[in-house]
Symmetry: C2
Subunit: 372 residues, 2 copies
Amino acid sequence: MADHTSELVPFTRGVPPAEVLLVDELAKLTTQVLEESPVAVFQYAPIGRNRGDERLRAELGRHHGVDPDRIFVSNGSLQVLDLLARHLIGRFGRSVLTEAPTYDRARQIFERHGGQVTGVALRGDGADLDQLRDLVARHTPAFFYTIPDFQNPAGVCMSEEKRRALVGLARQYGFLIVEDTPYRRLRYRGAAAPTLAELAPDRVLTISSLSKVLSPGLRVGYAIGDADTMVQLAELAEGTYLTASPLAQAVAARALEDGLVERSIQRAVTFLAPRHDAAVEAAREAFGDGLLSEPGGGYFVSALVRSDLTEAEFLAAAERAGVRLSRGSAFFPDERLPAGSLFLRLPFQALSLEAFRRGARALADVVARRVR
Amino acid sequence: MADHTSELVPFTRGVPPAEVLLVDELAKLTTQVLEESPVAVFQYAPIGRNRGDERLRAELGRHHGVDPDRIFVSNGSLQVLDLLARHLIGRFGRSVLTEAPTYDRARQIFERHGGQVTGVALRGDGADLDQLRDLVARHTPAFFYTIPDFQNPAGVCMSEEKRRALVGLARQYGFLIVEDTPYRRLRYRGAAAPTLAELAPDRVLTISSLSKVLSPGLRVGYAIGDADTMVQLAELAEGTYLTASPLAQAVAARALEDGLVERSIQRAVTFLAPRHDAAVEAAREAFGDGLLSEPGGGYFVSALVRSDLTEAEFLAAAERAGVRLSRGSAFFPDERLPAGSLFLRLPFQALSLEAFRRGARALADVVARRVR
């Protein structure tokens, strides 16, 4: 058989396309920072700054409408999640609830820190709250982890109704919510629901990142929560890597001040909206009701499809048909797919309209056994 | 009592003085990197680069005379140590041996990862190898952690004789050595002994950093070891923070290529040698035989002193006498000082000759109970 590897449609990584990175402006701001604070950016951060650069925390505070004391900055949001999991798991029990599917790296972090992860089925408007209620009524978890906006991997947004019901459950049963919001500002259609933190600041720890709205390479992520937790994350961080990059944080602060983050979001929204619309249309055509949602933003659409192939067989057939997929089961706790189903994550942000359409059609052919 | 806080001699932090940072050259290289690779430094690192920037690993390989496959780069050497401890502890048992005293943050990392840390007394020429032999003969540790050059906190260098004997023990009893070498290139007097890795590359994992020889703010540290271990550290890193900063790594690569690291080392050596010499003289005068060693490099001299004060009483008396000290017991496993002794770490790199002398004399007065 011919090797088609070089032509495979890569439905794999959630990396922004180069077109949405305003690298010239980022480089210019970096040069300005180097001119203004040459010593500070190449030296250790001052003692007591382990929650992050003061100016960046002030800007993030303004951006999110919260006191800077409620912000902790780290080397990207995955590192924030690692520190937060280390802080929460054990202290509040070992049971962690997530959506199913959920972000695979998050699940792995929870397991690494001793968490016992249970999944709550994800519907087109968010987690199944009846399932969640049953679980929390039996046993209070350390926390419920959710990506309420344009979820990775499913592309689902939690409806406002479910958000209100979820924080109600959190109050009733006394558990914490960790909401991860990297894609929230990348909205192409429809109106945003309130964040969970806006609905219940006392019950919610928020994680976010500048990776999808400014630059992944800067490696700037942050947590928003109660001031005590932020101090404790900062102590864990200091004992792990001393301080996050002073230069990256100074550039990020400047990019918020200067409006570059907002311009960058506008650029991404303008560039990605047509890809989103075309992806939804192509996926609807390919998978019909298997399509989990029409996201309205972010990077992903996804489908649950019926197949009598095993996942390994399906992935191999997909490659033969010209498509490389991430393993869908990796997004589920215990790597257990819903019975008789396969899960397909389809990132559209980095693909041309044509490539996405070709990939979706090829997958539909595999589902229908029109190819082997 | 008057508040003398603002005039205290700070014998506390191992931060390089601003005078040794070649910030203008660093800024220039950073600007060049931004001009040449604007997209790469603001994007996610390419897949498969989780061991670090290729060019930086090639340069570090040249610098250390090892294959780049044996190098893993991370956000500073403490982060390297955290990943390495996570990798080694458990896999090879939970017992960790260190020098006593040792770097406090290293000890805390080992404990956090479930290590049971036992100290081996540090003499003027390195760890007491009779004690070490007794310990390893009874029980093979996961590893022995050592800072063989200008140790933090004691300033001690391990003699060549002891290095050879140590790797002999490691071979005989089948344990790993983790050598941490951030200060090695900052030598002001005398000749360097071989590294432990040079003596036994099969038994030694090396950690080092550009913080003391180029810039702490870059947050670039690295491990050198067998290629398999490097791959496993890279996988742990990817699951924790995805990738280390592309910009910082690109600047570090350029600084090695361009000779800036060597110029920076020369600058540090020229600037710090007189401080070292004056510190050794002042500490010898103040503490006599209590001085642990005349280091010949690095940032620290130290003393073990007899006192019938408790450590808390001593630190308080020192503050009244105008000196702020780190708590010496923090550098010992179980925070247990040798009976009847107190340990004083005296970083000299950031103090004027006059301030160091004043501080050492004030501490001598506290030891002699000439002040209260």
